[in-house]
């Protein structure tokens, strides 16, 4: 790591849902990475990783989406993805999908690309060697560990190490942190009642922390958890971890207007 240039050209894969529904997540990622001295690339040809199709059983439909991702990022220095479930899709399933295509070029390209694909907090801690990104976020925050971040990426306490170094933060442990929130992609739609029951458990845990902000490395879980909390007017809001790590004491946006 030390022999490499200290500033990287980071290709941002923003993910389809952050692009469309949560631009603030992407803006915070850009702000954070640039603040740390790196340059950010955004290729507007990007769309989706194919996770929704693949996990719902539409594996054939996911194939061209995967090919597109590989084409776009094959020459990237590093790819940063602010979503652990999309990284899990790429790491856990792309090699097998490519192998099924009887296309050695594609399989090779996937193999070459995978070591350069990072979830945001992995990039910060594992690649940049940072645990303190100089952030300031004076709020009571609880961290939800998404299932893919725990059991596929094995992030462990990587996001928490970053959060513990944030100035002004009042970080409170979320009870039952290893339990799924009930989002599960199309599960939330197809098994609505089950998803709702699981959400009720998670909301209770979040509310018991007394936090005003629930954060995670996946906006998708947060969309579900915060969607439920907002329905109840619970007075808890969501922020992707990038939105917690981006602001500094020099700016007040993260404090007053977040």
């Amino acid at each position: 790591m030390h022999s490499e240039p200290s500033f990287l050209r980071v290709s941002l894969f923003i993910t389809c849902y952050n692009d469309t529904l949560f631009p603030a997540t992407g803006q915070a990622v850009v702000r954070l990475l640039e603040r740390l001295g790196h340059s950010v690339d955004f290729d507007p040809e990007q769309t989706c990783c194919g996770q929704m199709h693949y996990n719902t059983g539409y594996q054939q439909e996911a194939m061209p989406v995967m090919r597109r991702f590989v084409e776009i990022y094959r020459d990237a220095e590093v790819v940063c993805i602010p979503s652990s479930s999309c990284v899990a899709m790429i790491r856990d399933h792309y090699p097998k999908m490519a192998a099924e295509q009887a296309d050695p070029g594609l399989a090779h390209a996937v193999e070459e690309l995978l070591p350069r694909v990072y979830e945001l907090t992995e990039l910060l801690v594992h690649r940049f060697g940072l645990e303190d990104v100089g952030a300031y976020y004076p709020h009571r925050v609880t961290y939800h560990a998404s299932c893919h971040s725990q059991r596929s990426l094995h992030l462990g306490d990587v996001p928490l190490r970053l959060l513990r170094n944030v100035r002004g933060i009042d970080l409170v442990d979320l009870p039952n942190i290893d339990r799924c929130c009930g989002f599960g992609g199309t599960f939330a739609i197809k098994m609505g009642d089950l998803s709702a029951a699981m959400l009720a458990d998670k909301m209770k845990d979040v509310e018991n922390t007394g936090a005003e902000v629930v954060t995670a490395v996946d906006t998708s879980c947060l969309m579900h958890i915060f969607g439920g909390l907002h329905r109840q007017r619970a007075g808890v809001r969501m922020a992707h971890i990038a939105e917690v790590l981006a602001p500094t004491e020099k700016d007040t946006e993260g404090v007053v207007f977040a």
């Binding site: 500033f7 692009d19 469309t20 529904l21 949560f22 631009p23 997540t25 992407g26 803006q27 850009v30 640039e34 603040r35 001295g37 790196h38 340059s39 950010v40 955004f42 507007p44 769309t47 929704m52 199709h53 996990n55 719902t56 059983g57 539409y58 594996q59 439909e61 061209p64 989406v65 597109r68 299932c147 893919h148 725990q150 059991r151 596929s152 339990r179 799924c180 009930g182 989002f183 599960g184 992609g185 199309t186 599960f187 739609i189 197809k190 098994m191 609505g192 009642d193 089950l194 998803s195 709702a196 029951a197 699981m198 959400l199 458990d201 969309m223 969607g227 907002h230 329905r231 020099k250």
Partner: protein, 486 residues
């Protein structure tokens, strides 16, 4: 060929079966409590081992090897068992197995059997088959007694009555054992069950059991249990009939070393089961003098033929995946419409039933991966679920199915920048009748399942890519190296 998996022949889909269970507050509390207790115990005894991951890998390797050479090991088991004085029968499906067992009971002149808890007998509906032949089956596992006397069905692979608390057990015993003054103290309930069972143990001449492991090199059948009722059934009757799935075979006696460490810790949070019985053939003047093993296929060879789903057959029925599953936690086992519930049931049942219930069970998971994490034989259940979902889409979905159409449209959108950006713009324009004060609270169609309990923020005025484009034009982009705030 008729394949049955417990009661699922007439069971409703998971979604429908879950609804009344979600309404049952007592059941949900009982399940939360019981699974929390077992998980806590499991966590303690797993943490004290130094080689848990190595044990898991060893078990997975033994199972994979055995399945690869299953034909060899089954025949080896048959030879060894026969040489020891047992008799092996081969059953292609549930009806076959029921016919063989009923015939054996009749041959030995019995009209009653006592049973050790066996999932396989539930899978084939043995009790009902025996009843049709005029033979009464008495369960002897305490939880199975509760289920049988209560006219209920099992809700867990290992602890079938975990959805009942002790006041409910007391009611069942008071009513069915005619004990009006019975208290709900655990020791009184146990004493009542013991009294009820002791009479059966001493009287009934035929015992029926399953098998935790079939040991190929010795021909032995291994059964582990906590209560000692199993030991009674294995020693007191004249005739013992074991019904076991063909995947239960392991190559050698030595392999038990691995499984007998993994199974009790995973199943009940015990270092060792209180009763570990190994039964090999017959021995003059000692225990049952007639010993039969019924080897059951019932769809298993079909699972074996699917390389991606084959690992399903590694299962040693410990139930750890049920206890940790956040979906099972909400409903218990009854929603799964099968004697096999929880995450393992969600992959076993549709496969044994040739993808019947494919449209519901493989989707009864948020793919959180907690099941894979605890599985002592490393079955990657989420991977198998995704594989089965793929089969459902390829084999069962009509091209005109609304979901299939929506997915096709989404795939077309995701493979073109122009279409993707057009869809983003269309969404922003099209959402306006649904948006109130920046939020959507009542979406139409399938998306209505989202807004029944959750709000959805309206699509923002600009997407990320639009923000990026404007920013690039305004020239405010680029790293902030000179600010010195990095």
């Amino acid at each position: 060929m008729s394949i049955r998996v417990g009661e699922s022949a007439s069971a409703p889909s998971f979604q429908k079966a879950a609804l009344p269970l979600l309404e049952d507050a007592q059941l949900r509390r009982n399940i939360r409590h019981a699974t929390d207790v077992i998980q806590r115990k499991r966590g303690l005894v797993v943490a004290e081992t130094t080689d848990w991951q190595e044990l898991r890998s060893a078990a997975s390797a033994i199972k994979a090897h055995t399945l690869r050479y299953l034909d060899h090991y089954l025949v080896q088991f048959e030879k060894a068992c026969t040489a020891a004085g047992g008799q092996v029968h081969w059953a292609a499906d549930a009806d076959d197995a029921n016919r063989i067992i009923t015939g054996l009971v009749q041959q030995y002149g019995g009209d009653e059997v006592i049973k050790i808890k066996t999932m396989t007998s539930e899978e084939i509906g043995l009790n009902e088959a025996l009843e049709r032949a005029g033979i009464r089956a008495h369960e002897t596992d305490l939880a199975e007694v509760i289920i049988q006397l209560g006219g209920d069905t099992s809700s867990h692979i290992v602890v079938p009555a975990l959805h009942k608390n002790r006041s409910q057990v007391r009611e069942i015993f008071r009513e069915r054992m005619n004990l009006p003054d019975l208290s709900d103290k655990p020791e009184d309930l146990t004493a009542a069950a013991r009294h009820y069972l002791r009479e059966k143990f001493l009287k009934v001449k035929v015992g029926v059991c399953g098998a935790n492991f079939l040991v190929a090199d010795t021909g032995g059948v291994c059964i582990v249990e906590s209560e000692g009722n199993g030991r009674m059934c294995l020693t007191l009757p004249d005739v013992l009939i074991s019904v076991a799935g063909i995947e239960k075979v392991i190559p050698t006696f030595q392999d038990l070393e691995v499984f007998l460490q993994l199974l009790p810790r995973s199943a009940t949070g015990e270092r060792m089961n209180p009763y570990n019985s190994l039964w090999t053939g017959v021995h003059a003047g000692d225990g049952p003098q007639h010993f039969h093993v019924v080897l059951l296929d019932n769809g298993r060879t079909r699972v074996l033929a699917d390389p991606e789903a084959r690992q399903t057959l590694h299962c040693i029925r410990c139930g750890a995946c049920l206890n940790t599953c956040p979906v099972y936690r909400q409903t218990g086992g009854h929603a799964y419409g099968s004697s096999y519930s929880g995450p393992i049931g969600a992959i076993v049942t549709p496969q044994l039933l040739d993808m019947r219930y494919g449209q519901s069970l493989p989707y009864a998971s948020s793919l959180c991966g907690a099941c894979y994490e605890v599985c002592p034989v490393k079955i990657n259940i989420p991977e198998v679920l995704i594989h089965l979902r793929g089969r459902v889409v390829r084999e069962q979905k009509s091209a005109l199915d609304p979901e299939a159409l929506a997915m096709k449209a989404a795939a077309a959108i995701f493979t073109s920048r122009t279409r993707f950006e057009a869809a983003q713009r269309l969404g922003r324009i099209g959402q306006w009748p649904l948006v109130s004060h920046g939020w959507m609270r009542n979406l139409p169609g399938m998306l209505g399942n989202w807004t029944r309990v959750r709000d959805l923020r309206a699509l923002p005025r600009q997407t990320f890519r639009e923000w990026w484009k404007r920013r690039a034009k305004s020239g405010s982009s680029g790293p902030k190296r000179k600010n010195g705030d990095a």
